[in-house]
C-alpha cells in the first residue's frame, strides 16, 4: 500500500534523528502529503475523511430507501435491497482497510530502534 511506503520512509528518517524528535516525526505523519487518483495533493487524513463520508452517505441512502420501502412509497422493489447491499459492502471494505492500517501501524511501532 502506498501509505505503508511513506510510513516506512518516515520511520527510516527517524532512525537517523535523536529519539527526542520522535513525537514530532509521528505528528508529521498525519500531515504528510500524498496524491489521490487525479494527481492533486491531499493529505492522508483528508483521503480517509472523504472515504468515510462516502461510506456514511451510502448508509444514509440505505436508511432512506428502507424507510421508503416500509411505508410503501417506493416504486422499485429492489431499491432498498440494492442500497443495503451497497452500504454493507462499502462499510466492510472500509473496516478491512482500517484493520490493515492498524496492523501496519502496530508493526511499525513495535520495531526496535
Amino acid at each position: 500500500m502506498a501509505n505503508g511506503e511513506f510510513l516506512i520512509g518516515e520511520r527510516l528518517k527517524m532512525l537517523e534523528r535523536p529519539s527526542l524528535e520522535r513525537p514530532q516525526a509521528l505528528g508529521k505523519l498525519s500531515g504528510e502529503k500524498t496524491s489521490d487518483g487525479d494527481g492533486q495533493k491531499v493529505s492522508f487524513g483528508e483521503l480517509l475523511t472523504k472515504s468515510m463520508a462516502e461510506v456514511n452517505r451510502a448508509g444514509v441512502n440505505a436508511d432512506r430507501e428502507v424507510n421508503l420501502s416500509i411505508t410503501g412509497k417506493a416504486t422499485n422493489p429492489h431499491g432498498a435491497l440494492l442500497a443495503l447491499q451497497e452500504a454493507e459492502i462499502s462499510f466492510n471494505l472500509m473496516t478491512s482497510i482500517k484493520d490493515r492500517l492498524e496492523q501496519a501501524y502496530q508493526q511499525l511501532v513495535r520495531m526496535q530502534l
Binding site: 487518483g37 487525479d38 429492489h78 431499491g79 440494492l82 471494505l93 478491512s96 490493515r100
Partner: protein, 145 residues
C-alpha cells in the same frame, strides 16, 4: 466504487420491471373493447434507451461514466392494426356494420416476452451477486497477513 455497478443493475431491474408491467397490462386487456379514450385497447410496448449513470463527479467515476451505460425504459404504443370481429349483439359493436374492434394481442407472444423480461431481471440480480462476491474476496485478501 461499486456504485456504478449497482446503478446499472438497478436501472436494468427497473426497466425490466416496467416491461413486465406493460406485458401484464397487455395480457389483462387482450379483449378490451372500450377505453377511456374511446377506442379499443392498444397494445403497448417498451423501448430501452441507453442512459448515462448518475455518478458523483470524481476522477474515478469519469472512466465509469464514459464506458458504462445504464438503461432506461419508456412505454410507447406501436403502430398496429385492430382485429375486427362480427358480433352485432356486443354493446361496443359498430351500429352500422356490427363489427367489434378488438386489440391485436397474442397472449402467447406476450408470455414469451414476459419470460425474456424476467430472465433479464434475474440476470441483473446475478450481476449484483457477482459484485458482492468480488467485494468479499477483496475482504479476504485484506485479512490475510
Amino acid at each position: 466504487m461499486f456504485r456504478s455497478v449497482f446503478n446499472v443493475a438497478a436501472s436494468a431491474m427497473s426497466a425490466n420491471r416496467l416491461r413486465i408491467n406493460t406485458i401484464a397490462s397487455n395480457i389483462a386487456n387482450a379483449q378490451t373493447t372500450k377505453t377511456a379514450e374511446g377506442g379499443p385497447y392498444k397494445r403497448r410496448d417498451v423501448v430501452f434507451v441507453a442512459q448515462n449513470i448518475n455518478a458523483p463527479d470524481t476522477f474515478g467515476s469519469t472512466l465509469d461514466r464514459a464506458t458504462v451505460k445504464a438503461v432506461g425504459a419508456a412505454v410507447y404504443t406501436p403502430p398496429q392494426k385492430d382485429v375486427k370481429v362480427y358480433d352485432p349483439s356486443h354493446p361496443d359493436a359498430d351500429p352500422k356494420t356490427g363489427m367489434v374492434t378488438l386489440p391485436d394481442i397474442n397472449t402467447v407472444t406476450e408470455m414469451g416476452n414476459m419470460v425474456m423480461a424476467s430472465t433479464a431481471y434475474k440476470a441483473a440480480a446475478e450481476v449484483v451477486s457477482a459484485t458482492k462476491e468480488i467485494a468479499s474476496s477483496l475482504r479476504r485478501l485484506a485479512q490475510r497477513i
